[in-house]
Symmetry: C2
Subunit: 287 residues, 2 copies
C-alpha cells in the first residue's frame, strides 16, 4: 500500500496543512487562519482525521521546544503571539492522531525541503521577510545542540553609512533581523519596501548585511549551499546584490564548493513550498 | 591486549606527539620543532615506528582539506607558512605507518577533547591567541558541511569606541580575528597584551567581541557549552568580562542550557591538553 505524508506549516497568521504522496507531490492542501490554539488545533486534527496519513511533520513558528528530553518538548514556548505561549502543539496532535510526528521550526522544514529537492548533504536556509530566520542541515540532521537555531538574531558588523540607524529588533536593536528584515527598510526611509526605488542606497545596505550573514555562515558551517527565501529576497535584484557583496567580504578566504550563482540562491521550490516538501520528507523518515 | 592511541598536534611552530592508553592518559609525549615538511614528517614517522599505536589522530594547523572525496584530502592546503602549502601530511603518515588515522583541525581536536572530558553531546571551542579559531561538535560529529569551520574570521558588530581601529586581519581587516586576537591589543595600544593594565578600556572592547561571537554561536548552534582557550583567555579576568557582556548582548532572547559560569568556560584540561585527549578519543573511534 502506498503511504501518505502530512505537513503542518504552523505560522503566526495561518496554518497550511497538506497531504503528500510518496513522491512528495501535494495531493490536497488547505489554509486555516491562526486563531486561538484550541480552535486552530481542532481544525488541524479534523483535517487529518478526514485525510489520514501515515506520519506527519510540523514546521512551526516559535520559539519552540525541540528537545525530546524536555518536559515541554513539542511546545510553542515564549512567543509574544497572544494565547500561544506554552501551548503543547505536538502533544495535542499526537494524542488525537496517534501517528509518528516530527516537530521542528518552519525554517528547518524549508531547509530540509530545499535539500531534498536539490540534493546534497548540507544546506542553510534563511528567510528574509518581516523577520529573519535560519535553519541548517548537515548530513541529514539539523544543526542545533540543545535547541533550534535562531540565526536571524546574530549580530552583524554595521554598514558605515548605516551607523546611526538603531535597528528595529525589540530584543537586540541592531541584530541582523533589526537591520535587514523588511521592516528596517521602512523604518529607514518611511516608504514601504516594495515602493522604495531600485537606486536607493538602502538596498545596498541591506545586501551588505545579508551577504555578511552568508559569509559568517560559510565560515561557521561550510555548507554546500545557502538558500535565501522570504519576501525581501523575492525581489529579483536582491540576490545579485548579495552575491556581489559576498565576494568582496569573503575576500577569497575559503573556497566555496560551487560557482557563486549555485552557492547563493533563491528557493528552487516556488511560492514558499520548500517547507511542505521538507515536512513530507521528514515524515517519511519516521517510518 | 590493551590498545594505544596516537596524537599528532601539528602546529606552525611545533608538533606535539603523544601516546595514550585506553583511559586516554598520556604515556609518552615529545615536542619537535616545525621545520621543513620532509624533516618534520620523518620525525613523526620515526616516533610512531618506535612507539607503535593502533590508530592515531592528527589535529593540524591549516587550512586543511578534510573532505575524504577530494583528491587533496589530508593535505595542508593554502597556508602562508613557507614550504607547507600543498603538503600531503595525512598521506605520508598513512603510507609509512599503515594504521587508521583521523585528520581534522587543531581546534576540532580541542573541541572533541573537551567534550570527552566534560561529557555532553555538543560543544564549541574557541582559541583566542595570536589568531582565533573555532571548532564545534554536535552528536559526536564536527560541524562543517564541505570543509572545516573557520569561525575566527566571522565579522562582528564593532564596539562604538573602537570604530576607528581598522583591525589586523590581512584578509578581512576587522573580522573577529582582526579585532579580538592578541595582536589587536598591541596594535591599539602599542603595548604587548600581557603588559596592558587591567583597567585599560581595551579589555572591555575585546571582551565585547568575544562575548559577541559567543552570542552568535549560541544563536546559530545552540551548543551545550562554549569553551574559550588560548593565550588571551588564560588571563583570569577575561572570562568574567566575557560572561558579563554576553548576558547584556543576548538580552535573554534564548535560554542557555546551564548557569552562565558552566556555559561559558575556560578549558577543563590544563596547558592546552584538550587537543591531545581529543586526538586519543578520535583515534579510539576508528577501531
Amino acid at each position: 500500500m502506498t503511504k501518505l505524508y502530512g505537513s503542518v506549516e504552523a505560522g503566526g497568521t495561518k496554518f497550511v496543512l497538506a497531504i503528500g504522496n510518496e513522491q512528495f507531490n501535494i495531493i490536497k492542501s488547505i489554509q486555516i487562519p491562526t486563531t486561538t490554539p484550541e480552535e486552530t488545533i481542532t481544525s488541524v486534527i479534523e483535517f487529518f482525521k478526514d485525510n489520514p496519513v501515515s506520519a506527519l511533520s510540523i514546521g512551526s513558528f516559535g520559539p519552540i521546544d525541540i528537545n525530546p528530553e524536555s518536559p515541554t518538548y513539542g511546545y510553542i514556548t515564549t512567543t509574544p503571539k497572544a494565547g500561544w505561549a506554552n501551548v503543547d502543539l505536538l502533544g495535542k496532535l499526537k494524542l488525537a492522531l496517534q501517528i509518528p510526528m516530527e516537530f521542528t521550526t518552519d525554517v528547518n522544514s524549508s531547509a530540509y525541503g530545499e535539500m531534498v529537492v536539490t540534493g546534497g548533504n548540507s544546506l542553510v536556509y534563511y528567510t528574509i521577510g518581516t523577520g529573519i530566520g535560519g535553519g541548517a542541515v548537515q548530513d541529514g540532521k539539523f544543526i542545533g545542540g540543545v535547541s533550534h537555531a535562531e540565526m536571524g538574531h546574530q549580530y552583524v558588523k554595521r554598514h558605515p553609512k548605516d551607523l546611526d540607524f538603531a535597528g528595529v529588533c525589540p530584543f537586540h536593536g541592531d541584530c541582523l533581523e533589526g537591520v535587514a528584515a523588511g521592516p528596517s527598510l521602512e523604518a529607514r526611509t518611511g516608504i514601504r519596501g516594495e515602493n522604495i526605488p531600485l537606486d536607493s542606497e538602502v538596498w545596498e545596505i541591506q545586501a551588505f548585511y545579508i551577504a555578511q550573514i552568508a559569509v559568517n555562515t560559510t565560515l561557521a558551517l561550510a555548507p554546500e549551499k545557502i538558500v535565501f527565501g522570504g519576501g525581501v529576497m523575492a525581489q529579483e535584484h536582491m540576490i545579485s546584490r548579495v552575491r556581489e557583496q559576498f565576494e568582496k567580504q569573503l575576500a577569497n578566504y575559503v573556497k566555496i564548493p560551487s560557482a557563486l550563482t549555485e552557492y547563493l540562491v533563491t528557493p528552487s521550490v516556488a511560492d514558499n513550498g520548500s517547507a511542505t516538501i521538507g515536512n513530507f520528507a521528514l515524515a517519511a523518515k519516521l517510518l
